[in-house]
């Protein structure tokens, strides 16, 4: 009899644990989807098997997505050149001129569109431009 009671007391409170686990799951679901918003899903990046592996991203930087048709997408919003310049100027005023600018160009976009974005970056006196690519061997 005494043995049985001991066993019952050592039991884990499952229902409260499940409450906590669900809370944690919901927290991670919400934060995970926030994290990926800067990347445009429609872009297929070019391959570059020899580039340096991606290190941790600088949160101050701006990621500029350029689609195949030349449309520019910054943090989930389609913008024109004027708005892009305004965003860059704003960001440069906030954090300085050495913030990294990541250009995610589609593999088939014409360079003329990339050049327009690079000109906008240069005119804002930003200079750290990087092109993002996939680290895959060409098949």
């Amino acid at each position: 009899m005494a043995k049985k009671r001991e066993q019952q007391e050592a039991e884990i409170p499952i229902s409260s644990m499940i409450d906590i686990v669900f809370l944690l799951i919901i927290f991670f679901v919400v934060t995970a989807s926030l994290d990926k918003e800067v990347e445009d899903e429609m872009i297929r990046l070019a391959n570059s098997p020899h580039g340096k592996p991606l290190t941790k991203k600088d949160p101050r930087g701006v990621t500029i997505n350029i689609r195949e048709n030349g449309k520019i997408n910054v943090s989930g919003r389609l913008v024109d050149m004027g708005t892009l310049s305004a965003i860059l100027t704003n960001q440069a005023a906030k954090y300085g001129n050495d913030i990294p600018i990541v250009i995610r160009g589609d593999r088939n976009v014409q360079h003329g569109y990339i050049k327009k974005v690079m000109d906008a970056v240069t005119n804002t006196k930003l200079y750290r431009v990087k092109f993002q690519a996939e680290k895959l061997e060409r098949k």
Partner: protein, 167 residues
């Protein structure tokens, strides 16, 4: 005995609704399976930009220029675009056709030789406005493989930009 019975009743009440929980867990599992993306390793290729308003950098005498010229099929059959501008890389006026995969390897060997002689060699990549972005990435990748870090990407002003989706 009656006490024992009551205790067991209490325990039964506190039981977890297992079947409902499994429903929930399966729903979550399916959600995660559907929304997951394959993890793709990504990389960043850096290049230098000319500073606006500043004085142009002193050009070292042996600066090399890699030109990436027109890579798109002629969209409007514009006769002013010369045939030699199609699918071509130039390195110091030497030409490599992009259609030939061994040409890219040849270009790679050239750049590796350059990097062995002087890893600080500035390479100017003169990209035509109609070139596909992946051709530029390809050149940047070859330069990264060779270990060249001083890369300047400039736009070839002598070629007219013809957007491929314009009428």
């Amino acid at each position: 005995m009656a006490k024992k019975q009551r205790k067991r009743m209490k325990l039964d009440d506190a039981d977890v609704p297992l079947s409902a929980m499994i429903d929930c867990v399966f729903l979550l599992l399916i959600y995660f399976i559907v929304t997951q993306k394959p993890i793709i390793d990504e990389t960043l290729l850096s290049c230098d930009l000319p500073t606006p308003g500043g004085k142009p950098p002193d050009k070292p005498p042996q600066m090399l220029t890699v030109e990436v010229v027109r890579m798109f099929p002629n969209p409007n059959n514009d006769p002013t675009i010369k045939a030699k501008e199609l699918n071509t890389y130039y390195l110091n006026k030497r030409t490599w056709s992009l259609r030939d995969p061994s040409a890219v390897n040849d270009l790679r060997r050239q750049l590796i030789t350059i990097a062995e002689n002087d890893p600080d060699q500035t390479i100017i990549i003169n990209c035509g406005p109609n070139a596909q972005h992946q051709k530029l990435i390809q050149i940047l990748d070859v330069c990264a493989e060779a270990g060249l870090t001083k890369l300047n990407v400039v736009n070839d002003e002598s070629i007219k930009f013809l957007p491929s989706d314009s009428p």
